[in-house]
């Protein structure tokens, strides 16, 4: 009960900071609100017992992304005229459409922690949970799956990060030798 209250508080905080990020006119304030939203997501992941994802969200979403946004904003002109963004009819309609779509889709998902979901009674996840330590010698099943069982996918991810780094060096024209 108390944990669901906490989750509700986190959700409320996320909703507030998401609204602030969308509506605030001051771009720096908007970025800070967005960082708060990411932090809320990270806390939510921790509540849902996904510490690996929570750590990633906190480090990347709330940390580095905010820094990169701030650096980018420091190079542009910042408007400080009004406090809140004006909301046009078109964007309001888009928001309503998205909310209706998501609202119609989400109830079709099984509730969090429900018995009978593939995560809980599927063969694959049970196989990983049973055999991960014996086959890879790693106690964190997430890492065992990431590197041990699905190492090729992870190599692809690392290659994507590498390609992004090379592309950014090329596009921003700081390296002659690349």
């Amino acid at each position: 009960m108390s944990s669901s209250l906490l989750v509700a508080a986190v959700l409320l905080f996320m909703l507030g900071s998401a609204l602030a990020a969308a509506v605030l006119r001051d771009v720096v304030g908007s970025i800070v609100a967005f960082a708060g939203y990411s932090f809320g997501v990270a806390v939510l992941w921790a509540f849902l017992r996904a510490p690996d994802v929570a750590l990633t969200e906190a480090a990347v979403g709330a940390g580095i992304t905010t820094v990169l946004f701030l650096l980018t904003i420091a190079r542009t002109t910042v408007s400080r005229s009004e406090r809140f963004e004006g909301i046009s009819l078109r964007s309001a309609l888009a928001v309503v459409a998205i909310v209706v779509t998501v609202g119609a889709t989400v109830p079709a998902l099984p509730p969090v922690g429900a018995a009978g979901t593939p995560v809980l009674d599927g063969e694959v996840s049970q196989y990983y949970l049973d055999n991960a330590y014996d086959q890879t010698g790693v106690t964190n099943v997430v890492t065992a799956v990431l590197v041990g069982y699905r190492g090729f996918d992870t190599l692809g991810e690392a290659a994507v990060v590498f390609a992004a780094g090379v592309a950014m060096l090329l596009v921003l024209r700081r390296e002659e030798f690349l």
Partner: protein
């Protein structure tokens, strides 16, 4: 954003229509004793946490991606405290590219080493035949490789955005930049 700005404030059209501020108008780097001291104290701990998350991913929450980002945060903090340009002058892009290449090379050599000890690419469990816990150690090496890639790329992105393009050329409005 700038579209609407121009709509509401016609008086500032010249100011708002520009894509990028020239370096002279940007807020200058200001030394702050509090921030510098705090960063000097905190930075080693953050770097240690990053290394811990990177290396301990096999036994607890964490891994190369998270640890690499946390390790890169150290450089970001140093950049904010002591100015980005002096830090970037110490860590040149060549070094970062070497770091990233070393990380990817570690990953690939673990993967290719699977052919030596067994028959399959990235078959980490075959390293068990080489030494006890070999599978775990190879997984940790892969995590360290990922961490090197991620921290190098993030540090490079931070430097590139922070030190700016205008040392190479002034940012111009879209469409008016010269062909290269």
């Amino acid at each position: 954003m700038s579209e609407r700005d121009r709509g509401t404030e016609p008086a500032e059209e010249g100011e708002e229509g520009r894509l990028s501020r020239p370096a002279a108008e940007r807020p200058p780097y200001v030394e702050s004793t509090i921030i510098m001291t705090t960063v000097r104290v905190i930075a080693p701990f953050v770097l240690t946490l990053g290394a811990f998350v990177m290396l301990h991913g096999a036994s607890s929450a964490g891994g190369g991606f998270q640890g690499g980002v946390i390790a890169a945060t150290t450089v970001v903090m140093l950049g904010f405290a002591f100015g980005i340009e002096p830090i970037a002058a110490h860590l040149r892009n060549e070094h970062l590219a070497l770091l990233v290449l070393a990380g990817l090379g570690t990953f690939l050599s673990i993967g290719l080493g699977g052919y030596l000890v067994g028959e399959n690419f990235l078959q980490v469990s075959e390293y068990e035949t080489l030494l006890h816990h070999g599978s775990k150690y190879s997984i940790e090496l892969v995590e360290v490789g990922i961490g090197l890639v991620v921290s190098g790329v993030i540090t490079g992105l931070f430097f590139l955005l922070g030190t700016g393009l205008d040392t190479a050329r002034d940012a111009t409005e879209p469409g008016t930049e010269e062909d290269r």
